[in-house]
């Protein structure tokens, strides 16, 4: 579709120039007081799950604690106002939690939690009112005994339960030679109303992030895994085929997969150029990667080129301060923080642990995308350039004002939260609902257009660094007061374009 449509005011977005976001740190006044702590077994991990557990439409926060108990903070922020949180006893207060991901596993409309741990992983059934109970036994979920550090989920066709992928790290009991001791990742596939024993995803190479993605527009999901080269032998980045009723199998060089070996720590994905094929941002140490298909087209080979430098997102060293040693990147997420209609990129940064060849004062990045598609660093101007040792995080609207706020989990340092207080453009939140399993349409593509400007989000559970968000998809609209939205549902159905008003939550179902 070309030009202005339906007589709506759609042609103004996106705004012409980058708007500098403005954040205000409200960690202390908000009451969000928590730390992810620990030594060797907790040098990675440190996740946050942002999701609404009490039905007030504001995201509450489940925070991993490492050697400290995990904690749940209920969001008590005033509408469009200052951020406020209160700790509540929820049932998740267990130690050794590295990561937290929200997902409605049993499709009962109440969000559940997956707790990744050093030791047994635990799935927590949501009971409502921010209370949870262990459900490993009820759901036949084998939590294993490993150092788990990555998670992704999707619903395979016809299944009532989601398929869960769990990434594992080093053998935590290996003292002298941890290298080469990567524990197998696991694929938990449902077998009827419960889970079958997990399938080992052999070979595994110390995963720190994974996500399911329809990378080639085929309608099929593949599992991308980002691996830490520090610990594998003979390893590389991976992508798995997942076919119904077939064992997972790796993409091979014969299929076009190119060997890439990085300190893979986090994956963010979005379709930056709205061509139907997502780009992938891979965090690492020193240079980070932004991958785009060499030949984006149907039947494309999984052959990616690195466009990080061209797009201004290598983020390879601190952009401010005296410490110019190489950076260490962790959680990454594309999100439009100034609502100008273009995805921006947040990257959590922090030294692994006393690694003197890498920056110790390593500020987080907030890379704001311009009209030319190039990103510009604005973390310092925006007020979010913390130099704590960051790990996980979430960019999410915490006070319901349509501007995305920021929460970051730091290792052996305070969790931090910032309120987005800048002037932002119009916005749209898109919530998906469908009956039966997968009630929020995980695996869908949501498309929003304003005039000729198209934005596309793949609805995923996974990626980043041990952190996840469960809630509506957020789109910036710039000056546009209306937009059109449609959904490509996991089963392939494509909804009609629907006109919606800006600055509201639009709920879409397969029926319209």
């Amino acid at each position: 579709m070309k030009g202005c449509v339906l007589g709506l005011v759609l042609c103004a977005a996106p705004v012409a120039a980058q708007t500098v976001p403005q954040f205000v740190e409200e960690t202390t006044p908000s009451g969000l007081s928590h730390q992810f702590t620990g030594e060797w077994e907790y040098m990675v991990g440190g996740g946050v799950a942002a999701f609404d557990c009490n039905g007030d439409a504001l995201p509450d926060l489940a925070l991993s604690g490492g050697t400290a108990p995990a904690a749940l903070f209920v969001n008590q922020s005033g509408a469009s106002g200052a951020l406020a949180f209160a700790p509540v006893e929820s049932g998740i207060e267990m130690e050794a939690v590295t990561g937290t991901y929200p997902i409605d596993i049993d499709s009962d409309g109440i969000t559940d939690l997956v707790l990744l741990r050093v030791g047994e992983n635990v799935v927590m059934r949501g009971l409502g009112d921010c209370r949870f109970e262990r459900a490993n036994e009820d759901w036949g979920f084998d939590g294993g005994d490993a150092w788990s550090t990555a998670f992704a989920a999707m619903w395979e066709a016809g299944e009532s339960l989601p398929t869960l992928a769990i990434g594992n790290y080093i053998n935590q009991r290996e003292e002298a030679y941890p290298w080469g001791s990567c524990t197998d990742n696991w694929l938990h596939r449902p077998a009827g109303a419960a889970y079958a024993p997990p399938l080992p995803l052999t070979p595994s190479f110390c995963a720190l992030s994974m996500l399911f993605t329809d990378w080639n527009g085929s309608g099929k999901k593949s599992l991308r895994v980002s691996n830490d080269r520090e610990y594998y032998e003979g390893g590389q980045e991976q992508m798995w085929h997942l076919e119904p009723d077939a064992a997972p199998r790796l993409y091979t060089e014969a299929e076009g997969w190119k060997r890439l070996r990085i300190w893979g720590m986090g994956i963010a994905s979005t379709d930056l150029d709205a061509d139907g094929y997502p780009e992938f941002y891979l965090t690492s140490m020193a240079d980070n990667k932004l991958q785009r298909l060499v030949t984006p087209a149907p039947d494309a080979l999984p052959d990616y080129t690195d466009i990080a430098w061209a797009k201004g997102v290598t983020a390879h060293r601190p952009f401010m301060g005296e410490d110019l040693r190489p950076s260490t990147g962790w959680h990454a997420l594309f999100a439009d923080v100034n609502n100008d209609g273009r995805a921006d990129l947040f990257v959590a940064k922090g030294n692994v642990w006393e690694m003197p060849d890498f920056a110790m004062a390593d500020p987080n990045n907030l890379l704001v995308q311009g009209a030319d598609g190039v990103f510009v660093e604005m973390a310092d101007k925006a007020g979010v350039a913390s130099t704590h040792a960051a790990r996980g995080g979430a960019v999410v609207d915490l006070n319901g004002d349509g501007a995305l706020d920021l929460v970051v989990v730091n290792r052996n340092g305070p969790v931090q939260v910032w309120r987005n207080a800048g002037a932002v453009g119009n916005w749209l939140a898109v919530a998906l609902e469908q009956p039966g399993p997968n009630p929020t349409g995980i695996g869908s593509w949501v498309e929003v257009r304003t005039g000729e400007h198209l934005q596309r989000h793949e609805v995923i559970v996974g990626g980043g660094h041990v952190s996840g968000i469960w809630g509506p998809q957020h789109f910036g609209l710039g000056d546009a007061e209306q937009a059109e939205v449609r959904v490509i549902w996991p089963d392939g159905r494509v909804s009609d374009w629907r006109a919606v008003q800006a600055n509201a939550v639009a709920t879409l179902t397969p029926e319209g």
């Binding site: 002298a176 030679y177 032998e233 240079d287 390879h316 690694m355 060849d357």
Partner: protein
């Protein structure tokens, strides 16, 4: 050959005046050597500053440390003090009994901790674990005073060598060895960055040729003739060299591709080219039960020769500052061509792997013999089978040509690199060690 018998032979060799009052060997010192070497190979791979020249330097100093620790207890071994540039006489045993394994353990644990002080948390944990376990092993059954005396001697030897190392000009590696900026000369033959990695837009360690060598007199001792003159003329020697790389990589056999990968030895993903040779030597020490004196001699000479090889090689690289095949081929022959291997971020001529392999083959051949057949298991844990070689030079030649198959070196860099390595290695062969 029984190692303890060798110790006895050393002590009985008629050099009693040079021996400490009493030397014990309550436990076999060789596993101390091989275990620390194994860990060092891992630390090289997992410590960010450990590019091949830096790794070779550490192998050199740790090789000398192991040798001198054993030499302090075995009068049959001649100290390298006075033979290596700047190495002054080392601490010797005082009164009372010493245990050779305990001396070696203390020296290597302290030396390794010094050279890998900047390794990450897992490396530090491994260092502590190895130190604790080997300490327990070597002191089991030893009288406390002997253990303490032996430890003190080992630590003193290590401190002496670390102090010597700190003054060689190669101890501080900033930004993983990459200068903050680089301006390529206005010369089509000049090296230009070949990577999209932001950190690698300047050549790695451009001053490494000025680092103090171990055994050869200076960085330019084994200087090389210039490479073929740069030309884009299809009839030129330079064009022919580039076309050879291009043609070879376009028609690689499975075996040639395997050879390229077997010797790729990328930093941060392997123990680097010098680590490859150290692995081979350490493996031979264990598999063939080489005597202790031979073992420490081989490790010292190998480390010294390879450290010097990188200094000489880098001196020539900086002098000639030649562009890489990927730059020339993309410019002149085929703009879409890509090499099989990642092109290293520094000038082309000569080939570092060739120089270091030439030096390694020279000293290993001198130490263990011509026609010494063996199998190389360096990459077995990464899924590559062992490769048999008829001699060390058989392997070195293959390491050299692997860089052409990989598309990262011209033939002249390989052939001259091997020649340079042979020249540099000869200075190490000339060292006096075993009586």
């Amino acid at each position: 050959m029984d190692r303890r018998r060798v110790l006895g032979l050393g002590a009985a060799a008629g050099i009693a005046a040079l021996l400490p009052s009493r030397v014990m060997a309550a436990s076999d010192p060789v596993p101390v050597l091989t275990n620390w070497t194994k860990l060092t190979l891992q630390l090289v791979r997992h410590t960010a500053t450990y590019s091949p020249p830096v790794a070779a330097r550490a192998f050199g100093y740790l090789g000398v440390t192991g040798y001198e620790a054993v030499a302090a207890c075995d009068g049959a071994l001649t100290s390298l003090a006075g033979q290596l540039n700047g190495l002054t006489p080392l601490p010797r045993p005082g009164e009372g009994a010493h245990d050779m394994a305990a001396v070696l353990q203390a020296a290597l644990s302290a030396g390794t901790a010094h050279f890998f002080a900047n390794t990450g948390p897992s490396g530090q944990r491994a260092l502590a674990t190895m130190t604790r376990k080997l300490d327990e092993q070597v002191t089991a059954g030893l009288p406390e005073d002997v253990a303490a005396r032996s430890r003190a001697l080992g630590l003193a030897i290590a401190a002496h060598i670390c102090g010597w190392a700190d003054g060689d000009g190669g101890a501080v590696v900033a930004n993983m060895g990459f200068p903050e900026s680089y301006t390529a000369p206005d010369d089509p033959a000049a090296w230009v960055p070949t990577s999209l990695v932001r950190q690698q837009q300047a050549p790695l360690l451009p001053d490494w040729g000025t680092v103090r060598p171990f055994a050869m007199p200076a960085g330019d001792t084994c200087s090389l003739p210039p490479p073929p003159a740069y030309s884009e003329d299809p009839t030129s020697a330079f064009y022919a060299e580039a076309m050879e790389v291009y043609s070879a990589t376009k028609a690689l056999t499975e075996e040639q591709a395997l050879i390229a990968r077997f010797w790729s030895d990328d930093p941060m993903l392997s123990s680097t080219p010098p680590g490859h040779w150290i692995f081979v030597a350490n493996d031979l020490i264990a598999r063939r039960q080489l005597p202790l004196a031979v073992s420490v001699d081989v490790m010292a000479r190998l480390g010294i020769a390879m450290a010097d090889a990188f200094i000489g090689c880098w001196q020539a690289k900086t002098t000639y500052n030649l562009l890489r095949p990927v730059t020339y081929i993309n410019r002149v022959i085929d703009k879409g061509w890509k090499p099989l291997l990642n092109t290293p971020p520094f000038p082309e001529y000569p080939s570092g792997h060739s120089t270091v392999s030439g030096a390694a083959a020279t000293v290993l051949t001198a130490a263990l013999g011509e026609g010494y057949a063996y199998e190389d298991f360096t990459h077995e844990r990464e899924g590559l089978d062992g490769r048999p070689y008829a001699s060390f030079w058989d392997a070195a030649d293959e390491a050299g040509i692997s860089r052409l198959y990989g598309g990262i070196h011209f033939r002249a860099a390989i052939e001259q690199g091997l020649t340079q390595g042979r020249c540099i290695g000869a200075y190490t062969v000339a060292l006096r060690t075993l009586a």
